[in-house]
Symmetry: C2
Subunit: 372 residues, 2 copies
């Protein structure tokens, strides 16, 4: 195998993530590496924390970026807050609810599943019934924005239900953070994780996480050690904490954190509300274009994620061939269906930096050309 320098093409990324990354973020990424205990780097980490607090709309002191992708952020929440023998209500309306079940069971706990159809939001009535039927449950876990189906669930209502029954919440906000309202403090969410490569439009590889004081308390009252050394937040906090001297835990992904800092700064500059509005506006534009092409949404209007448009592959159309043509001829990536929707759906992302008029135009015209 002769191997030479890899030079990727310039794609337009309108799948379920990674999304288009701004040149500003790529430039930040490529700055010279400095030490992970360098005082200047430690100062930058404090800024990342403050910027993440803004993005999550929280004052949680425990707000960091896990040094690994979103699925490690998910695992961080579960392994730190769940102990063997616990009961967890897990809402499943797509791929990521199922992954939550895997996490619960690998912690030696019991997952009580609350199922909703793929493409539908989580039904609060079912969650309430599960809470009543399982008074021993200590946590309710749900996906705010299901990346596999494009459905948005009502995190505020689900959180209120969990609180009424003395449960913490673990919330998957991988695709929601920065794209739709996510009010961690106002909604009293307890452990929330996200990903860098969706509506933050940073490079993939980091997972923003925030824990409420209640979640931190639960973590501190554990009877056993967290099963993962790498994700044990009682250790990680010694590195991220602003109090006194930082202690070494693992080597932080320095350059990726430069990029996250810059992407969060861009979000702050734009303003969260403006970013949410931009996602809605671009979604409306795309929706009109798709409807004109006879392409139908899978999710009811009230629960659609503006940043992730899941649509049915039209009757008689070859899913893979269309996506390959968009990629090869237009350098345009849209997402395939996942799990139960494989072959049946496309997932068209309008995330972060990718949520712009030129992308909507390209996607609409390219799809029109290819669908003929």
């Amino acid at each position: 195998m002769t191997i030479s320098r890899f030079i990727p093409p310039q794609r337009t990324l309108m799948g379920p993530g990674p999304s288009d990354v701004s040149p500003r973020v790529l430039q930040a990424l490529a700055q010279p590496t400095i030490g992970h205990l360098d005082p200047l780097f430690v100062g930058m980490m404090d800024e990342v924390k403050a910027l993440l607090q803004y993005a999550f709309q929280t004052e949680n002191a425990f707000t960091i970026a896990v040094s690994a992708p979103g699925s490690a952020g998910m695992e961080t929440c579960f392994v730190n807050l769940i102990e063997p023998g616990d009961t967890v209500i897990v809402c499943r309306n797509g791929v990521f609810g199922e992954r939550m079940r895997e996490n619960v069971e690998r912690c030696g706990a019991t997952a009580v599943m609350v199922d909703d159809e793929w493409g539908k939001p989580v039904d609060p009535a079912k969650v309430e019934a599960a809470l009543k039927a399982n008074p021993e449950a200590s946590v309710v876990a749900f996906v705010h924005a299901e990346t596999s189906t494009g459905a948005l669930s009502d995190a505020k209502t689900l959180s209120a239900l969990a609180r009424e029954h003395d449960c913490l919440t673990i919330v998957d906000a991988v695709t929601s953070l920065g794209g739709v309202p996510l009010l961690v403090d106002e909604w009293q969410l307890d452990a929330v994780y996200s990903g860098s490569q969706k509506c933050l439009s940073c490079v993939p590889g980091l997972s923003p996480v925030t824990f409420s004081p209640r979640a931190v308390e639960k973590m501190q009252q554990r009877t056993g050690k967290v099963q993962s050394w790498f994700l044990d937040q009682s250790l990680v906090l010694g590195y991220w904490s602003g109090e006194g001297k930082r202690s070494y835990h693992h080597t932080a992904p320095v350059n990726s954190l430069y990029a996250l800092h810059e992407s969060l700064l861009m979000l702050k500059e734009e303003g969260l509300e403006n970013a949410w509005q931009r996602h809605r506006d671009m979604h409306e534009l795309l929706k009109a274009e798709l409807e004109a092409l006879g392409v139908n949404f899978l999710v009811e209007p009230d629960h659609r994620l503006p940043q992730l448009n899941a649509v049915a592959v039209p009757e008689g159309v070859d899913d893979a061939a269309v996506r390959a043509k968009l990629l090869n001829d237009y350098n345009l990536e849209i997402g395939a269906g996942l799990g139960a929707l494989a072959g049946k759906a496309w997932r068209i992302g309008l995330m972060g930096y990718a949520a712009k008029r030129e992308n909507v135009a390209l996607c609409a015209k390219a799809l029109k050309d290819v669908l003929g």
Copy 2:
């Protein structure tokens, strides 16, 4: 808090890692992000695999980069190969042997510790005695190059002992890969993990890992699921495997993998043997300079890592003040002592791209100036 763009200084990184990153690697890093299932990206991953096989000197089909730092690579080896109730011989001659014990115990297994003094290599006689005393042991775990002390252990001999007693080996090669000979196949090592930010001189955040067919077999014969979903290699392989269609597991850190590809390509271009020789040569130069300053090594000559020079902080010298002066006045980072060596040692790295004459000269002159 007013936050503006973060612009790091240009440091010379001569600590225990991250090491200096070549402009070629930074340039590769900043290339446009493409999808993690893009056929071009999947092709690049095959190249990363082949380049890692070269770096590890192995034909192991299971050779990948874990999407997280070296400590996650360590955990990958333990959680996949250890089951509750197992007995593991763990060699401890520094910080990372202790971290291995943590990993073993969090897997519900028993760690039989073989202790050697910090700064000394692992003593094969003690390992043999432990193997004889614990015939139920299934794994021997040791650190090839102890980053906390600068000592090199004899991986070949330790591996042979483990085999004689039907044990697999888990080997920490975080600091050895690319810096000193590491012959995975010839020495018959079973599960070996490293880090991107040491002698590969890539940005931090990735952990190259290779499993022998024996290790893969042990993984496949597990009776229970791996406790970590994120690090479960039976799932990860569906993404990294070259056979047929890649299945989604997690979103790969696309840009960091561009950088790893480029840094491995640079190693291939130079040639492994030449890289090892360069590390030895630069070590000899630095050693002469340090000795002229009256700075003494902590490790006996036969077991010194050329890429990580652990030296005693001279009597009466203020450790932190010297390091701060080097950093602030010379933009030069050297490492502090870790664990038992905190305040007592400096760790001067000559890793990968940082192992060059200009760095030796800068370090020698700056230390001379600062020590007065």
